[in-house]
Symmetry: C2
Subunit: 214 residues, 2 copies
DNA sequence: TCGCGGTGTTTCACACTTGAAACAATATGA
DNA sequence: TCATATTGTTTCAAGTGTGAAACACCGCGA
């Protein structure tokens, strides 16, 4: 197929498939068919084949997929074979929790620096990561070879911080501030808005009987 | 309109509108039209009117919306005028960070109890919240009047924890474990999967020139 | 009283995603 | 050799969300 317009939904599913394959590999299985994979993990077999076909032909007709091989392929497609260095802006509780977040290490991301404007925090260590003055952001980014930024500051500062991030040449940003941010099209910006999720739960609790799954 | 099938996308937008109104109210404005709101916050005016019309007639023709009034209405619709008591299962770093998360207080959620299986943690206090043995979950839930649960345990335990949560009679669950969970239709389950978001950034960085906004 | 501005509502076209179905192609094993 | 299993690919229908357009209705101020 080799479509060049890959939906983010597709790559999200690749993440899921990768986890499923890891589980199967852990059990010692060698091959799996899209049908078995779908039945086991409540997925859709046609979708699995379509998603994978976007990136090449990884299966063997009549057999299925070699689990080890497919794991490597998906790992490569998702870029998980590359190392990334992360800056977290905002050394509050969220920033500190994220510094320790196991998911970063798991996905080959390394928290290389924290940034804050609070003089009491600047210079300190959080989980062995140094807190720098946000004024020195661009300089440290260059020196440390940072290519990913995480926004963990209050909503009112988020847009300004994002602009500094972009000015420093970073293209991939994860935003935890509860506000939509504006950025150019060549910047990959993912916003994780916990407040919206909470208010969605609140809405559900306020009107029993109706539902919606995310 | 009074449609009874409200999309979650609609309620998510209500959350956004509420924030915008808060900002406007803070500036001392009294009324706002859907057009001004849309232009100011990069929204779509037709969508705003449609979303609001799902729940009643809040505007005044020829005038727009009274900001204070609309804030109250949306607050009521989203159930933010009700207090909720939250249990966090998993007293690790993520659980601890969430216990302190300001967004909970902001949305009228109160973290009432933490749960863990680690004897070293049970009985301790984290930000003034007691850590209980997860074995006592149902008992404490009843005693403390808890109606919302947050899953902050490793992925392999998440499904089991969810079942205990459901058995305890809780209907609203937020899951931070990086795995899709299965639950009945009458349970509101929101999964925040940071790993998928990270892998999405990784994919983007691995293939420069292509993009996608979440 | 009249015109302007803005809501409430309907309608339509477009895009995207999903899931099913069908089928050719092709390894494997009997 | 041949049946079977399963991929890779195309096609189609259904559902959902978006955004524009049109317009009736109505409050306000001139």
């Amino acid at each position: 197929m080799k479509a060049d317009k890959i939906s983010e939904l597709t790559t999200n599913r690749l993440s899921i498939y990768l986890r499923c394959l890891n589980e199967l590999a852990h059990e010692g299985r060698k091959t799996v068919s899209s049908d078995r994979l779908a039945k086991r993990f409540h997925l859709n077999s046609a979708q699995i084949r379509k998603d994978l076909a976007c990136f090449g032909e990884f299966g063997v007709r009549g057999v299925g997929y070699y689990i080890e091989d497919l794991r490597e392929q998906i790992t490569r497609i998702l870029g998980l074979d590359h190392h990334h260095r992360v800056a977290i802006i905002g050394a509050g509780r969220l920033g500190a929790a994220l510094t320790d977040y196991y998911g970063f290490r798991q996905t080959n991301f390394e928290v290389a620096a924290l940034f804050d404007a609070d003089p009491d925090k600047i210079g300190s260590l959080i989980s062995d990561v140094r807190v720098f003055d946000v004024k020195d952001f661009a300089k440290i980014v260059k020196k440390e070879g940072i290519d990913v930024a995480v926004i963990a500051v209050p909503a009112e500062y988020a847009q300004k911080v994002l602009e500094e991030i972009v000015d420093a040449g970073i293209k991939a940003v994860m935003n935890f501030a509860p506000t939509p941010l504006l950025a150019d099209d060549d910047i990959k910006l993912k916003t994780i808005d916990l407040t919206i999720s909470l208010e969605s739960l609140s809405y559900f609790l306020a009107r029993p009987g109706k539902n919606g799954r995310e």
